[in-house]
């Protein structure tokens, strides 16, 4: 009998090809007769297209040119609504909106041609800020600029304000953030009426691209095929955009009679034109008793969705549900809205609305604690949610949860209490050499899987197949984008079948060959899809047992191989499929936004220690500890890698990553001017897991972890900076200039 593979740091499945440079990303592929594609985009934020002219000196007859008129199906990127065109034909609603496509075999000439296309646009008044959109300065989308709104209403907050000992208000905001995967968006397409459409590319969700292409070309599902290549990072940035660039390359290929067309964005185009994290504004009004019991939370949460609806409704949903955090509070009202502005649509980015609303909440919790006269930790301890209590949506927490225990562990690992005291003393004496120090924390949760009834609608399917040699392949559309899908799925299937890890592989995600296991998003791959991998794998064994080829559950690898060989010889392919079914007792009301929002939550306390130089206004993070309960840890190194990487992105979000807008365009769209943390900038990131197995999770109880580490960094760091400086900053990114202004005001 083999020992368990789950929980062991087995080598990453595609590790060898990645460290040797052998892994093939889409830009590494070339096809005979291939053309390169480019996109002509809107130079203005909003307007009416008057004319398109093709400049002198370019052999235009050699070019493939595609406009909206060439679209065989519907000119809309199919996602939630159909409001975003593939190519603008009359109006443009944001800068960088695609208007026309070009293809040519010569990349240099293609770029000259792109610059030689002149689009004449009559400008219309545009809206660039949340405030202007809410004030309806111009109506730029629908009837009121609002893509979506939600209301979560628990108890009755209105009855509380008058009798509360204390009511504390606060307003918080967050900026846009670029995903900055190191591999830019890219695809290759082959498309013609005879063979249909095939797209290879860098992506998270092959079936999203598939769905979008069906609509764009008005083709039946079997005529469209989407294949994921090795993908150089996603973080949400390759959730929806591949449908756009994939459609563009396919349109060019279609017009070129089926010649392959490759589109690879350069960094400037990728940063300027593709999605970013939604900027947000949150207002809090919190009622507490004199001894620090939460009585009511009223939260208004608004996100800037950009020019088209895209995924904003779902980003808003997750941000809304996480806005009240891991606290017990009898009365909660959360009103939220996603509004339109004339900037490129904002989209998915790790955390998906939750980092924004959790930032606001965890800053507010420190503010309320100070108002009540309690330490931030004591105030939270008095309000942490416990098993059997309800969240803001009325979800009863049925799993054991121990936020106070996580807090204790995090404090012990950081020596928090002693440092907090020491820093207070030193800062009161003016700091050390102009440097003031602080330590702060945030406590939070993150739900795994699609919200509410989402997984029920998706009805994801995973397959497993075994060949005559007993080798097992997992068939799923869930993508490896660096997070370790290939490895953890192989671990889960190996353990389910008690087989050697080397005997299990993942099939390449290819809609022509794998079932729709849903998108690779929402911290769902391990917990939701992993469970399906486990049951599909077990299905193989049951099939062999049903056929009388495996006598018991106690078999050797040779028994397995022999049984597979005999099965395949007798009956042909050995395959098994498993489809999602919700765990028992799950209840969700989409109308009232009430009930069981997520199958399970991961719980966490993150602590940051900072130094603020009061002369240079530089903030350094000296130490960062991430303590979380994530159910069973499937792979300790990959799991820690997820947390460390997420924390690094959160540190960027907090201190470095500032998207500078001018008239709706990102003007620092290069790595020189948009700065992410380097190896020299980051503190040690110390990761600690608690494991409380989730009864419906795979591999002995795994939950989701992908997004969690993005949530806690920003509030923990600003809470620490508040201790260091005494200034209550409310916006991230907190750039040195803002720090300087804050400190000068204070002085």
């Amino acid at each position: 009998m083999l020992t368990e593979i789950v929980g062991k740091p087995v080598p990453r499945k595609e590790g060898r090809s990645k460290v040797t440079g052998a892994a093939r990303y889409v830009d590494d592929l070339r096809m005979p007769g291939m053309l390169y594609g480019a996109t002509v985009r809107s130079p203005v934020a909003r307007g009416r297209i008057r004319s398109v002219t093709f400049g002198e000196g370019i052999p235009w007859d050699e070019f493939v040119v595609v406009t909206a008129e060439d679209i065989p199906g519907e000119n809309a990127v199919a996602l939630i609504l159909l409001d975003q065109p593939y190519l603008a034909s009359e109006f443009v609603n944001h800068a960088e909106e695609p208007i026309l496509l070009l293809a040519h075999a010569d990349k240099q000439l293609l770029e000259r041609a792109r610059r030689a296309v002149h689009v004449d646009i009559e400008p219309l008044p545009a809206v660039f800020t949340l405030a202007d959109s809410l004030a309806q300065k111009e109506i730029i989308w629908g009837e009121d600029n609002v893509f979506k709104s939600y209301l979560v209403d628990k108890g009755n907050v209105d009855d509380v304000w008058a009798q509360a000992d204390l009511v504390v208000e606060g307003e918080y905001s967050t900026g846009a953030q670029e995903q900055l995967y190191i591999e830019t968006n890219g695809v290759i397409a082959v498309a013609n009426p005879e063979e249909g459409v095939t797209v290879w590319g860098s992506m998270q969700c092959p079936y999203y691209v598939h769905k979008a292409l069906l609509k764009l070309f008005a083709l039946p599902p079997e005529r469209v095929r989407v294949v994921q290549c090795e993908t150089g990072g996603g973080f949400g940035g390759k959730e929806e955009y591949p449908s756009m660039i994939g459609g563009h390359a396919a349109l060019l290929s279609w017009k070129a009679g089926g010649r392959p067309v490759k589109i690879i964005y350069d960094r400037a185009e990728d940063m300027a034109a593709t999605t970013k994290r939604h900027p947000s504004l949150t207002r809090h009004r919190t009622a507490v008793t004199a001894d620090g019991q939460l009585l009511a939370m009223e939260i208004e949460f608004i996100v800037d969705g950009g020019a088209y609806a895209t995924l904003s409704a779902v980003v808003l949903s997750r941000g809304t549900i996480h806005a009240a955090g891991p606290y017990r509070c009898p009365n909660v009202r959360i009103r939220s809205r996603a509004v339109a502005t004339n900037v490129p649509p904002h989209g998915a980015f790790r955390g998906f609305g939750a980092p924004q609303s959790i930032f606001a909440l965890e800053r507010q919790m420190d503010k309320v604690a100070a108002a009540v006269g309690l330490s931030p930790s004591e105030f939270r301890r008095r309000n942490f949610i416990r098993e059997g209590e309800t969240t803001a949506t009325g979800q009863v927490i049925r799993e054991p949860v121990d936020m106070a225990g996580l807090l204790d562990r995090a404090f012990e690992l950081t020596d928090y209490e002693a440092k907090r005291e020491r820093f207070a003393r030193e800062n009161a004496a003016g700091g050390v050499g102009g440097v003031k120090r602080g330590i702060g924390f945030a406590s939070f949760m993150h739900g795994a899987g699609f919200t509410g009834s989402g997984e029920d609608y998706l009805k994801s399917i995973v397959g497993a197949e075994a060949d005559a040699e007993g080798r097992v392949r997992v068939l799923a559309a869930s993508t490896e984008i660096g997070q370790g899908t290939n490895t953890i799925f192989a671990q889960i299937a190996s353990d389910a079948l008690k087989l050697n890890y080397d005997l299990v592989e993942m099939a390449q995600p290819d809609t022509g060959n794998v079932p729709d296991s849903g998108p690779t998003v929402a911290s769902r791959t391990c917990m939701i899809v992993g469970k399906l991998v486990e049951s599909a794998a077990l299905g193989l064994r049951q099939t062999l047992q049903g056929a009388g080829l495996l006598a018991t559950d106690d078999y050797t690898e040779d028994d397995w191989r022999k049984a597979c060989r005999e099965y395949v010889e007798r009956y042909g392919a050995l395959k098994s499929f498993s489809q999602y079914k919700p765990p028992p007792g799950v209840r969700w009301d989409d109308e009232k936004y009430e009930g069981d929002a997520y199958g399970a939550f991961a719980w966490a306390v993150y602590v940051a220690e900072v130094s603020v130089d009061t002369l240079t206004y530089e903030t350094r993070i000296d130490d960062f500890v991430a303590v979380q309960e994530v159910g069973k840890v499937v792979h300790p190194i990959l799991a820690a890698g997820q947390i460390e990487g997420g924390v690094a992105q959160a540190i960027g979000f907090t201190l470095y990553e500032n998207v500078v807008w001018q008239e709706g365009r990102m003007v620092n769209n290069g790595m020189t001017n948009y700065v992410i943390p380097t190896s020299a900038d980051l503190p040690p990131i110390r990761v600690h897991f608690e494991e409380q197995p989730y009864q419906y999770g795979p591999a002995g109880g795994a939950k989701g972890i992908g997004e969690l580490p993005m949530d806690g960094g920003a509030p923990a760091i600003l809470n620490a900076i508040e201790q260091a400086t005494g200034v209550r900053f409310t916006h991230v990114p907190l750039m040195p200039e803002a720090l300087m202004r804050g400190l000068s005001k204070d002085a």
Binding site: P9, P11, R12, E14, G15, R16, S17, K18, V19, T20, G21, A22, A23, R24, Y25, D27, D28, D106, Q108, L109, Q179, L180, Y181, I182, E183, T184, E230, T231, G232, G233, G234, F235, D266, R267, I481, G482, Q483, G484, I637, L638, A640, G641, E644, G645, G646, V647, A648, Q649, G670, M671, T672, I676, T678, S679, A680, L682, P684, I685
Partner: protein, 164 residues
């Protein structure tokens, strides 16, 4: 303009093999490696020398190949990710350590990061924590938060025979 310039002959050694290239003099070394020589392990991340995904060794020195006009490599010895291991099944100690320690996630920065680590260990065989952080600071990784990469460098230098 690049397309107007005549092609020139450039001689160099790439991963131990002598090459005579007929190229535009201002072509980027990155494109020549990827397109003329098919060495696609070298990646483009930004095209402006910030991210280090295109790092290669030129005469033992770590450079961003997106910033090097090919004319500058006349007579030079170039090593790309494809030339890091001696060949065969055995990996370079740095590559092996990257696999064991989780230094590669999405893998797109990995070739450049491996070369940066190889170059660092060639200069400083027993680097301190600060040496490692500074030595890799020209190579951006968006996935790992760098901690597992540091672990990999430490593991690699614990093993004997680390040479660029």
């Amino acid at each position: 303009m690049i397309e107007a310039a005549a092609k020139v002959e450039v001689h160099c050694t790439v991963n131990g093999a002598r090459q005579t290239l007929r190229v535009h003099p201002l072509a980027r070394l990155l494109d020549v490696l990827r397109e003329d020589l098919g060495l696609t392990g070298t990646k483009e991340g930004c095209g402006e020398g910030e991210c280090g995904a295109c790092s290669v060794l030129v005469d033992g020195e770590l450079v961003n190949s997106c910033l090097v006009p090919v004319l500058q490599i006349e007579g030079a010895e170039i090593k790309t990710i494809e030339g890091v291991s001696a060949g065969g099944a055995e990996l370079h100690a740095v590559q092996q350590a990257f696999i064991e320690c989780g230094g590669a996630q999405c893998g797109i920065c990995t070739p450049g990061m491996v070369l940066a680590a190889v170059s660092l260990l060639a200069q400083i065989p027993q680097p301190t924590d600060a040496d490692i952080r500074n030595g890799l600071a020209g190579n951006l990784c968006r996935c790992t938060g760098y901690m597992k990469i540091f672990d990999a460098v430490v593991r690699a230098c614990e093993r004997a025979g680390v040479k660029a």
